[in-house]
Amino acid sequence: MRRNLFALPAAAVAAALLLAGCGGSSGANGSGSTQTADPGPDTGTITFTGTDNAETYQPVIKAFEAKNPGIKVTYTQIPFDQFNATMQQRLSAKDTGIDVYTVDEPRVSQLAAKGFLTDLSDLDGKVKTSFSAAAYKTNHFRDKLWSLPMWNSTQYLFYNKTALAKAKVTPPAADPQQRWTWEQVEAAGRKSMQAGGTKYGLFMEQPEAYYQLQPLAESLGGGSGVEGADVLTPAIETDGWKKAMQWYGATFASGLSPRGIGGFQTGPVFSNGDVAFFVGGPWDLKIFGSSKIDWGVAPLPYFQGGKPVTPTGSWSLGINPASKQQGMARKFLEFATLDPAGNLATTSTTTIIPANLDAQKQYTPKMDAFSGAKTAGAAAITAYESEHTAVSRPVSVGYIQFEEVLGKAFADIRNGTNPDARLQQATQQLTEAWRSIK
């Protein structure tokens, strides 16, 4: 008995050590390296890491391999929810198993500051002429270019035609000049619920993501939520933010939107016919095409008295400085972004907007026909939003913390926490998280 009991603390200590090991080691090394990286071998296999399904990148990989005999590309998928954390972990451990990876645009600054991206400034001239000014700017940090834009995005208001007809509501028009307000959407959504057409009135695809909720606050003049010369001062307690979050929290409290459904379970709520209005991205234009319901697409709403604002930006591609195959990695990255044919190939299975302007010109007109008559008007909406209403996410070295802290605040507000108090708490959390950065 006694011997056995002595063995147990040893097991506990071993478990505790295991726990301690989970902390990992620090890999951040200040500013990104500016040295010219060793290009490595000309042939071999490079690894490309991202969040999308493998099928998304098969066409671009196939086209690249055909053009570059001797180079193979293997794709590794890490689910979206775990992507940022896993990449932080692997990049800080200088993992050479990643050559090229997808970079969420607002995260470029912090990834570059941590030394997780290879300097691509020699491509600056080409990038300036190939992409929009917003995309060009977002991929820069401290006057250097760290990643190349692959995709762009926007958001649409999808609506269930059958449910609206049942509720005797005229659906919103696709014309951006006749854009609905959130107040109109809310009223029509409630009518649809009352008429028994749908369980819910309105639902957002990413109900806890800054990308999708930023336009609510910005529409009311609340600002991006971060300010200051170093873009490290929280500003989420403005009137615009408070009003937007009160409205957002109330949509869940009143049952207009469902609580408890998150991650990637949101799309099916619309395609099963359970919600009258759904806010989603260009990828949904094709995904919803296979659903049985009849639907249409309209521009993203704005608040009455406010201004129309839409989200923009998407994934860029960057190179891991620890990669031993910089030359091959760069070839692939240039093909998938700077070469219009390569950039178009990245969008042939997932309907997302290519970032390369030449590719975009060829691609946008096709958007109207992605899902037959249902997607009519999508091309004009996309073109209009990118020119008039698109607002990027803030470029801040603290964006990663910003997004994480706000994501949790949105989740709590959605679940019924007082929005004003929660925004105040988030301000405090941001101040705490940014203290160590400053």
Partner: protein, 286 residues
């Protein structure tokens, strides 16, 4: 000869010792060392700051809430799991029709990885999911489960018990089956009823496996991570923000590895204190 035997033994042990050092001891020491540093992205470079990461943590309301939630969770989940495992073990060692089939069904969740279990339960706990479907059939109102600050911890406890109880039950079944038949028969002849036999005969004789189950279960519950990450992300309002998830969040989501390492050191100290306390209690009873 003896010396040669010792060398051979050492040779066999070397791979394990090297792994222990490289995979456990070195990272543990590194965690302690790194917890005394901080790093500024704006200024660049690593600076020794002594105990400031620890004082920052202790001064943080979120961290104090996380410790509170973890302690509450520990106090609730461990007795529940140990008692349920013991009762099930007693039940499944009775000679009854179909007991082996039931036993298998209870053990099955062990084969499911925690992440998969969490995904299964995310469907059960959805507002229009299986859980509320069953409640509706019983004429009971729908429950918010994971979106209510009061229900989130009990909901996680149910999920974790579904995963864990079968596993811990196995050790107790093995222990109960080792109780000599003569002892059980003697108790029967003395006229002890089933309850009396369980409390006065079986329970004292399975104390060893029970002690193991209690300690190992406590350590494993202090390391709970996947269900929190997948289902609640610590919310709502930090009510399921268990320390292990908070460590992960600070290290890899917020990206402050040094504060996270300070938190790991605190979590290890807390684990050791709880386990030491349990040993003291168990020893006192002998």
């Amino acid at each position: 000869m003896k010396q040669r035997q010792g060398l051979i033994a050492l040779a066999f042990l070397t791979p394990a010792l090297v792994c222990l050092a490289v995979l456990r001891i070195v990272p543990a020491i590194s965690a302690v060392v790194e917890s005394f540093y901080t790093e500024s992205l704006l200024r660049g470079g690593r600076v020794f700051t002594g105990l400031s990461n620890y004082t920052d943590l202790l001064g943080s309301k979120d961290f104090r809430q996380s410790v509170g939630v973890t302690l509450l969770f520990t106090v609730l989940v461990n007795p529940i799991q140990v008692v349920v495992s013991f009762l099930l073990a007693v039940l499944f060692t009775q000679k009854a029709a179909g007991s082996k089939l039931w036993r298998t069904l209870v053990i099955l969740p062990i084969a499911t990885p925690p992440a998969v279990s969490a995904v299964i339960w995310s469907v059960i706990y959805r507002p229009d999911g299986l859980g509320n479907g069953v409640l509706g059939r019983l004429g009971l109102p729908a429950q918010p489960f994971l979106t209510s600050p009061n229900q989130v911890l009990p909901s996680l406890i149910v999920l974790l018990s579904w995963i864990g109880v079968g596993y811990w039950m196995l050790f107790l079944i093995a222990g109960i089956q080792e109780v000599p038949v003569e002892v059980r028969e003697a108790a029967l002849l003395d006229g002890a009823g089933p309850w009396r036999r369980m409390i006065s005969v079986i329970l004292p004789l399975v104390r060893r496996p029970l002690a193991f189950v209690l300690v190992a279960d406590t350590v494993s519950n202090l390391l709970v991570f996947a269900p929190v990450q997948i289902l609640t992300k610590g919310g709502p309002n930090g009510n399921s923000n268990l320390l292990m998830y908070d460590v992960y969040n600070r290290a890899y989501a917020i990206g402050d590895i040094h504060v996270a390492q300070a938190e790991v050191v605190i979590l290890v100290a807390l684990t050791l204190a709880i386990v030491a306390g349990q040993f003291r209690l168990l020893r006192g009873d002998q």
